[in-house]
């Protein structure tokens, strides 16, 4: 592949709009890669190899282990966080 993957675009199945690989690298938790980055890009190029070269093996392993929270559970978490934000703490 000759093209810089960061400049490539793909339709994000979560957003439903076009995003660059660079966006996928930074839209996840704490500004890290999206948990679906490998899912979405693997048919385009060796995204795992790319991530390893960019982030290192351990970071890719950590990313691969990250999981989206089940919806009900994530709502409970978000409610707790929202209450903290609302109270200013």
């Amino acid at each position: 592949m000759s093209q810089d993957p960061q400049q490539m675009t793909i339709r994000c199945p979560r957003l439903g709009s076009s995003v660059t690989f660079a966006y996928c690298l930074g839209c996840g938790q704490a500004g890290g890669p999206c948990f679906k980055i490998c899912d979405c890009w693997w048919e385009m190029f060796d995204v795992v190899g790319c991530l390893e070269s960019r982030l290192g093996h351990e970071a890719v392993v950590k990313l691969a282990r990250a999981r989206p929270a089940p919806k009900v559970a994530s709502l409970i978490e978000l409610i707790a966080q929202a209450r903290k934000n609302a109270s200013g703490s």
């Binding site: 839209c27 190899g49 919806k71 559970a73 409610i79 966080q81």
Partner: protein, 458 residues
Amino acid sequence: MQGKAIILPAAELPRQWYNILADIKMNPPLGPDGQPISPEMLAPVFPMNIIEQEVSSQRWIDIPEPVLDVYRIWRPSPLYRAFALEKALDTPAHIYYKYEGNSPPGSHKPNTAVAQAYYNKQFGIKRITTETGAGQWGSALAFACSQFGLECRVYMVRISFDQKPYRKTMMGMWGANCIPSPSTETKAGRDALEKDPTTPGSLGIAISEAIEVAVGDTSGQTRYSLGSVLNHVMLHQTVIGLEVKKQMEMAGEYPDIVIGCAGGGSNFAGLAFPFVYDKIHGKNVEIYPVEPKACPSLTRAPFIYDHGDTARYTPMLPMHSLGHTFTPAPIHAGGLRYHGMAPTVSQLADEGLITPKAVSQVDCYEAGVLFARTEGFIPAPETTHALAQTIAEARQAKAEGKAKVIVVNYSGHGLLDLGAYERFLAGELQDATLSDEEVKQLVDRIRNHPVPQHLKSV
């Protein structure tokens, strides 16, 4: 001359939704302490009448007349016989597609948005918040709120907001306020902007903003709305399948196969759950939720309790998963870590009442193009998953010489998402999948997770 559309008379619009929780047993969602999450914990974001539906085990739930009245704008939706597609495939199969693209926002999503808006109104709520990616759900909720005179605030991920300004316009036409996220209205948004003033945003930030606004309204007049995954959303969508059953009676046929795409599960559930009811009660029907081949969260993995994050702070829900320790092998990484499926859909798969299928990206786009060139409608990208499986089944029917009857949910049109087809038409896609051995190795790593009971409902 044989008509293509099977139009259900207005008087035949279903008066009740079907609640599958009456017919299956579910493992409860678990908190970090291993204890079930109580529904009351959701009260800050949902009105109690919706929470009651979320946990209800009543089989048939009346559709309120005001909801029916809004449904009547586009419901009953047509069921089409896909004669042109059948001819193109030279198949003996009879293909029917349920057209949900005729709702005002263009998808199945108003089926629950309208119901949720109504119940919020009944509960005394004045304002509903939500998040949206490219605007499909936001548009549906905006439309629904306009029908019941509710204020609607939609936090739309900035990158999509900039790409699709017409979505803001659509929501504005229905009186909703579409706000690019992150915004300065919430602490979650301000924190994100402080870190990066030019951030394109994310769904995580947008949902945090929507919930913060709902929870932070001390008047108690604001709630949050979600368009997928949860039980009450699946419930509201069953109007689709209930209509289809009547329409198939009009056609004088009963499906051998029922197919829907399975992202969060709601459009699949909407078509399929009423047929699951039939299957539980003895009907011989195959039911296929379809997901991307690169995402075998249901098709290849065991049924386990799984945490939501690496640190295991988040509670566990029973669902199909490949677990925490998965490390993607080069090229074979697709889809393994997405498990946002509705728990009810996961449960049905575990019980063998539905049979998950997977299709490749290329097959999906080919299906979308073939469908557009035969039936005329341009499907939403998500819808192409179901169409791809439908085409595969129709070809199989030809190979077997069987006139199988196939029903598929055409969940929405793709007229606002044409960019999705550009790369396919440019010939840039390729295909790949996991081997069975790779899946086996991954599964071996999660043997120590607690295993939920494999409940049998029938």
